[in-house]
């Protein structure tokens, strides 16, 4: 997948609006492979890379269960905690919208605000994926990367 600065800005604008409207502590968009796309909000010392990996694993496992029982799509997951809660949505079957919220919000409000933004988010995702597909046909990698040499790779390992 290829994410341009322009697309990142479009995602970011939706996430910023969602974070404010839902009183969330964190709104985080990642792809189903666990790659981070954009986020809004911050929780002290939270490791977003690990969070993305675990969230994508959770969604993958849940969808795997769905296949076993003949349910094609579990689109929403909700983990209720003592203080913090996690709400996960699969968007456009490509990405995961993860929201962490506490007592300043509620699952109802989060669900409502997510529903209101799903179409806008899906439109950007579909656009990005269409562009990635087109990009794949022309050239998958940025020009600079086509010039990678063995020395460049060896340098990475010091």
């Amino acid at each position: 997948m290829v994410l341009t600065e322009e697309d990142h800005t479009r995602f970011q604008a939706i996430l910023d609006g969602l974070a404010e409207a839902s009183n969330a502590k964190l709104v985080f968009l990642l792809d189903k492979n666990g790659q981070q796309i954009a986020s809004c909000g911050q929780i002290d010392d939270l490791d977003l890379t690990s969070l993305a990996s675990l969230a994508s694993g959770t969604v993958a496992a849940t969808q795997g269960m769905g296949q076993l029982i003949g349910e094609p799509s579990f689109s929403t997951l909700f983990h209720e905690g003592q203080e913090d809660n996690v709400h996960l949505n699969v968007v456009s079957d490509r990405m995961i919208l993860l929201i962490i919220f506490d007592e300043r919000s509620s699952v109802g409000l989060v669900r409502l605000r997510v529903q209101q933004q799903l179409d806008a988010l899906a439109a950007v995702i579909d656009d990005v994926m269409a562009k990635t597909e087109k990009h794949d046909k022309i050239q998958q990698v940025p020009e600079q990367l086509g010039e990678i040499t063995d020395e460049d790779i060896d340098t990475l390992f010091g």
Binding site: M1, V2, H8, G34, D47, S53, A60, G64, L145, I148
Partner: protein
């Protein structure tokens, strides 16, 4: 699927360590985590059973530096090796850019290696990947054990293309970084050639 993030100027790739149960996949990742530079590595996440067998996956991110202005980040995953966790193994292969097959050199595990490579082939195919054309390294682990089969025999039975073979003793770190380096090199060359 390599993720190229122009906004953050990053390339993110996914590498999966595959192989039969108790072959040393987690030990590889643990060694890398212990020895990698602090600023280069992220947390090691292990979803394991109470007896320390991998239940779902181990995960650690590693950042190796900048190449042509792009930060290179690699997400390392292991799969659970036990036969009955096949559904989990299949999930973890989604979006993979390169595979390390960790073979257990012991004679008693020879059939398990062969079965696991076949399982890898099938699970990759489920995602539309072709093992014969993707970045792939064969690591022969546990070379220090007296019951280890000769390299020539393992090569004959397990190697199916011109993949690099690396001898290793993951508990002491022998061959661990060489394996990582080899797979990363293949992934980047594959990326470049697309």
């Amino acid at each position: 699927m390599t993720f190229i993030n122009y906004a953050a100027r990053e390339i993110n790739c996914k590498i999966v360590y595959y192989g039969p149960g108790l072959c040393g996949k987690t030990t590889n990742i643990q060694w890398i985590h212990e020895r990698a530079r602090k600023e280069a590595k992220g947390k090691l996440i292990s979803l394991a059973t109470e007896t320390d067998r991998t239940l779902f996956f181990d995960f650690m991110p590693i950042e190796l530096g900048t190449i042509r202005g792009f930060r290179t980040r690699f997400h390392l995953y292991t799969v659970p090796g036990q036969v009955f966790y096949d559904a989990s193994r299949r999930l973890i292969l989604k979006g993979v850019d390169g595979v390390v097959f960790v073979a257990d050199s012991q004679e008693l595990r020879h059939d398990a290696n062969i079965e696991s490579i076949q399982n890898l082939r099938e699970n990759l195919a489920e995602h539309g990947y072709e093992i014969d054309t993707m970045p792939y390294i064969l690591q022969l682990n546990k070379r220090d054990l007296p019951s280890a089969l000769p390299v020539e025999q393992l090569e004959r039975d397990l190697r199916f293309k011109d993949e690099p073979i690396i001898e290793a003793v993951a508990t002491t770190g022998k061959g661990v970084f060489d394996t990582l380096k080899a797979v990363i090199k293949q992934v980047l060359i594959d990326l470049k050639s697309r």
